[in-house]
């Protein structure tokens, strides 16, 4: 009941040992940077504040609302943590959350924990933080600007985490990229809406009752190293994803094409205007999904931007 398994916690056995080790290496490096950054940011408040806010994220995941057909919207929390605490503190908070989920509640594997920390902790926090800041600046500094920026940022953070998880599964040979990527991206495009709604609701409340908390989050330090680490990590994952494509054997592709009838089933059509969540004239589904997600993101962001600017003008 407290645990609503996100389809993002990778269990043990789904990643190859080598990939799991690489994930732990990346995670260890980033956690040590995060520890140093938050110590500068918070001083000796670091341990109690990070610990209690990690407990908060865990508890907040229990607050949900019914959506449709027995499913419910609830929070992962990476983007929210990043909006209120800054990127490095959020990465650390989410590391603690994901570690406890794996260590105590078996939600996600222990060897896979490195990548789970990166997907759900680091990538969601960093993607959420940077898109929130960018949107907030473009829309203009107003209440609705913050709220809408929080929605777009939380949506994107889920999508980034899901794409990374799909690529890791594909690299391990657990789930082919052409199925895992469209499936994960489209499912989380829907889950991300719930994440976005709750995150923006929380930001709306904070804006009304404690705007100083949001201002403190805006001026959190360590932006430059975070941008550096985030882009490097995402580039590494994408490179990993597309390196096997170059070496794809033709008979393998032929074989997959033969049973291609299966594939259209796995792709939930999320956007009616992007049929099967892919763009028809480009052939490889992985490439087209990435493109489709990019276009979807652009649409979400421009709609938010236009709506935000309108409402912001009204407020003034």
């Amino acid at each position: 009941m407290l645990l609503s398994p996100e389809p993002l916690h990778i269990p043990d056995g789904f990643l190859t040992p080598l990939l799991a080790a690489i994930g732990w290496l990346f995670a260890a490096i980033i956690i040590s940077i995060a520890l140093r950054q938050t110590r500068q940011q918070l001083g000796e408040r670091q341990v109690p504040l990070m610990g209690i806010l990690a407990a908060f994220i865990f508890a907040a995941q229990a607050i949900n609302f019914p959506v449709a057909a027995g499913t419910s919207g609830h929070l992962l929390g990476g983007a929210l943590a990043a909006i209120v605490m800054g990127p490095w503190a959020a990465a650390l908070i989410m590391t603690a959350v994901v570690s406890v989920q794996a260590l105590i509640f078996q939600d996600g594997g222990l060897l896979a924990l490195g990548w789970n920390i990166l997907n759900m902790g680091v990538l969601t926090a960093f993607a959420g933080y940077f898109s929130y800041r960018a949107m907030h600046k473009w829309i203009g500094r107003s209440t609705s600007g913050r709220v809408l920026a929080a929605f777009a940022a939380a949506w994107l953070s889920m999508e980034v985490g899901a794409i990374a998880a799909a690529i890791e599964l594909a690299l391990s040979g657990t789930s082919p990229l052409r199925i895992a990527l469209p499936a994960m991206a489209s499912v989380h495009a829907l889950i991300g809406v719930g994440e976005g709604l709750i995150t923006s609701g929380a930001v709306r409340l904070l804006q009304v009752s404690r705007p100083d908390v949001l201002d403190a989050g805006d001026s959190a330090p360590g932006r430059l190293p975070a941008a550096f680490v985030a882009s490097g990590l995402f580039l590494a994952i994408l490179l990993g994803a597309f390196s096997p494509l170059a070496a794809n054997s033709p008979d393998g592709l032929e074989y997959v094409a033969r049973i291609g009838g299966f594939i259209s089933l796995a792709e939930v059509p999320a956007f009616a205007f992007l049929p099967d969540y892919t763009i028809p004239f480009i052939t490889h589904p992985a490439v087209t999904t990435i493109l489709a997600v990019t276009i979807g993101t652009l649409i979400v962001f421009s709609v938010t931007l236009i709506v935000g600017r309108r409402t912001a003008r009204k407020e003034v």
Binding site: L2, L3, P11, D12, G13, F14, P17, I31, G43, E44, Q46, V47, P48, M50, G51, I52, L53, A54, A55, F58, A59, A60, A62, I63, F65, A68, G73, H74, L80, L92, A96, S99, V100, A102, L103, I104, Q106, D107, G109, L110, L111, G173, T174, S175, I179, A183, L197, I198, T199, S200, G201, A202, V203, R204, L205, S209, V213, I259, G261, F262
Partner: protein
């Protein structure tokens, strides 16, 4: 409703419960590592490993139903591996009637291997957390030289986890009691409901932030200087380390068997 750590930790009198936490941590990690390292289709080795897990579970007296019920947590993720039997190139085994999808033997072997691996790993992890109190786990992580700060943060999180979870559930109950579902009255829209849920998350955040300020002040007043000091628990059982050694030998035996055959 009251959340308690007892949901996870099951106190019993058993040999496994009494083991040194470090031995349990290392032991379950080694079992998981072995499960993941076994090559595809090494059924005999996987079977022996599974037998070892069953043995450990029954020695921990948790009861078979508890472990089976908890094991289902990893099940939804198997969906991700479901296309494997159909999409892995290999000799065709069976064709789904009417649809023309072909199950290959290579794909089926890979799928079953992943299924068994995951099951073993989840069971090992369940035995660990069900027989070890969280505070002992944290002590074990510290004693095994895990980075002290991150263990301190996780320990702090565990200390306040159930307080904040209770607070969250109280808010959920308050919401439920103020918004009953009545026949003939339309339910409010998803957007409105999500805004309420968001406001609840926001106010829970503020309460947590204020609690952390109080806790920090209380710690300062007791002489906290940024360093978490842990009272050393004198757990020292050399017999347990012998047990771990025996298990390492057994696990490497299982691993060599799988390569050799």
């Amino acid at each position: 409703m009251h959340i308690s750590i007892l949901d996870v930790f099951h106190p019993r009198q058993s040999r496994i419960h009494g083991l040194d936490p470090r031995v349990k941590l290392l032991g379950s990690l080694l079992i998981i590592l072995t499960a993941v390292l076994l090559p595809e289709g090494a059924w005999l080795s996987q079977g022996i490993l599974f037998g070892l897990i069953i043995l450990l579970s029954s020695a921990s007296r948790l009861g078979p139903f508890f472990i089976v019920r908890r094991s289902f947590i990893a099940l939804p993720f198997l969906l991700a591996a479901l296309p494997l039997p159909f999409l892995t190139p290999g000799p065709p085994l069976w064709s789904v009637p009417g649809l023309g999808w072909v199950v290959t033997s290579t794909g089926l072997v890979r799928f079953l291997t992943i299924l068994i691996r995951t099951w073993i790993a989840v069971q090992a992890s369940i035995v660990l957390s069900a027989t070890t109190p969280a505070s002992d786990l944290m002590w074990g992580l510290n004693a095994l030289r895990f980075p002290r700060l991150i263990v301190a943060i996780i320990g702090f999180m565990l200390r306040y986890l159930f307080i904040l979870a209770d607070e969250a559930l109280r808010m959920v109950r308050a919401r439920a009691s103020r918004s009953p579902r009545l026949a003939g009255i339309k339910r409010p829209g998803v957007i409105w409901q999500s805004r309420v849920a968001g406001a609840m998350v926001g106010s829970l955040f503020l309460r947590s932030l204020e609690r952390s300020e109080r806790v920090h002040a209380a710690m300062l007043s007791r002489g906290y200087d940024g360093e978490m000091r842990i009272l050393h628990q004198p757990i020292n059982k050399s017999l347990d380390w012998l047990l771990l050694l025996g298990m390492i030998l057994l696990l490497s035996g299982i691993f060599y068997l799988s390569i050799w055959s």
